[in-house]
């Protein structure tokens, strides 16, 4: 049994057997709350109309798969305590695997300065490398002349919200 188990971001975990019936989750289809396309940070234009004055989500790729209620909770106008308000615009990225992340910093800065977004919520996984996405957002915000409130939410690998805090 090796003491070193490798990168927490790629360490194997098996959740089979955990509440396979779905627990209290509602049955049936969940309507998409996505209000835009594209969503990947290399593809989006920060000046697209849906970013203007919006509450924007910058989400790590994996969050949408780990967090069961991603659309109703984070994207919807009628979302829970973590969302609320008028619905969110989104950009997604992987701070571990994506290349050319300098472009992301510039696009986030442009959201703040040019699109005059209302707030930025950074959604990341609990794995350490995901913190890189928050760092990108902070770097962009520090270089921007305009300031906006930034919140980050850490989601566990089994879909639980571990932390929610304003920066």
């Amino acid at each position: 049994m090796a003491e070193f188990e490798g990168c927490p971001g790629s360490r194997m975990a098996d959740f089979r057997g955990k509440d396979e019936g779905g627990g209290d989750a509602p049955a049936g289809k969940v309507a998409s709350q996505l209000r835009q396309w594209p969503i990947q940070m290399h593809l989006i234009s920060p000046m697209a109309p849906y970013y203007q004055g919006a509450d924007v989500l910058l989400s790590a790729d994996c969050v949408a798969y780990a967090f069961g209620g991603f659309h109703p909770e984070f994207l919807s106008a009628k979302g829970g305590s973590t969302s609320g308000g008028k619905g969110k615009a989104i950009g997604i990225a992987c701070p571990k695997l994506d290349e050319g992340q300098d472009v992301y910093v510039e696009k986030i800065k442009s959201w703040i300065e040019d699109a005059k977004i209302n707030t930025l919520t950074v959604l990341i996984m609990q794995v350490p490398c995901c913190m890189g996405l928050l760092q990108l957002a902070k770097q962009a915000a520090e270089s921007a002349k305009r300031k906006v409130p930034i919140k980050y939410i850490v989601v566990g690998v089994q879909g639980e919200i571990l932390k929610e805090e304003w920066v």
Partner: protein
């Protein structure tokens, strides 16, 4: 017990005095509150107790109000004061609310200087009177127009003005303004005793007021606001800051100067 959940806390304490000690035990400072119309059920929610502590608190209150019909406490929890130090969490505010908390720091600096100002007060000289009037200007311009205006014109507008906790804050602001008017009147009449009395009353009022806001009201309001509202409020606060320009800086320098002048 049920009927008392919808009664004002002062009324409950008046009828059942031991409830005051129970609230104190949980660091719920309703006892010295000047208004005390918050409902018992709201107080529990506003103070954001853990479900275990809420149940424990209500069980203790129930024992006083309705002996024999107590709410069962599954596992009696010690009050906050008895909790291990490690469980006390730092309060995290949203960015706009954090601004308000930061503004409190300068106000607290000024009110902490009030005893020294009173000790050195000389209303017979124009300079001595001017010093008190400069303090009044700080209260009126920084604490009231700049800071309280953000609260009254922006933050509180997101909530029902009839909420008891908001009414208490408005009432504190008004009481503070009345003390300031009395200070000015005292300066004009060169009535040292009156000026000192109202300065001290203002100090006492604002000390309690700021503590209530920092520890109870703001965290509670923060929990009610949506992300969108936080963003809007942040933008409105920035507009207010722009409108006031360098004035807050001027008042920071004023308080620092008084602090330096009266440092031993």
């Amino acid at each position: 017990m049920q009927e008392y959940l919808n009664k004002g806390i002062k009324e409950v304490i008046k009828q059942f005095p031991p409830v005051a000690d129970i609230l104190n035990e949980y660091d719920i400072g309703c006892v010295p509150c000047s208004v005390g119309t918050c409902l018992l059920k709201d107080i529990v929610q506003i103070h954001n107790l853990s479900p275990e502590h809420e149940q424990s608190l209500m069980a203790k209150i129930s024992r006083v109000i309705s002996p024999g019909q107590e709410i069962p406490a599954q596992a009696e929890q010690p009050a906050r004061k008895e909790k291990p130090e490690t469980e006390i969490k730092e309060i995290k505010y949203s960015p706009p609310v954090k601004k308000l908390v930061e503004e409190h720091v300068l106000i607290k600096c000024w009110i902490a200087l009030i005893p020294a100002v009173i000790k050195n007060m000389n209303l017979e000289s124009p300079e001595g009177r001017q010093l008190i009037m400069d303090g009044v200007d700080f209260i009126r311009s920084y604490a009231d127009k700049y800071h309280h205006a953000k609260e009254e014109d922006i933050l509180f507008k997101y909530f029902d003005a009839n909420l008891d906790i908001i009414k208490v804050m408005y009432e504190d602001h008004e009481t503070g303004r009345a003390h300031v008017r009395a200070i000015v009147e005292g300066v004009n009449k060169k009535d040292k005793k009156s000026v000192a009395e109202h300065l001290l009353a203002y100090q006492e009022l604002l000390t309690g007021h700021i503590k209530k806001e920092d520890e109870i009201l703001y965290p509670w309001l923060d929990r009610q606001l949506t992300t969108t509202q936080i963003g809007e409020m942040f933008a409105k606060f920035n507009e207010t800051d722009l409108k006031f320009g360098q004035a807050p800086k001027k008042y920071e320098e004023f308080v620092n100067k008084i602090a330096t002048d009266y440092s031993d």
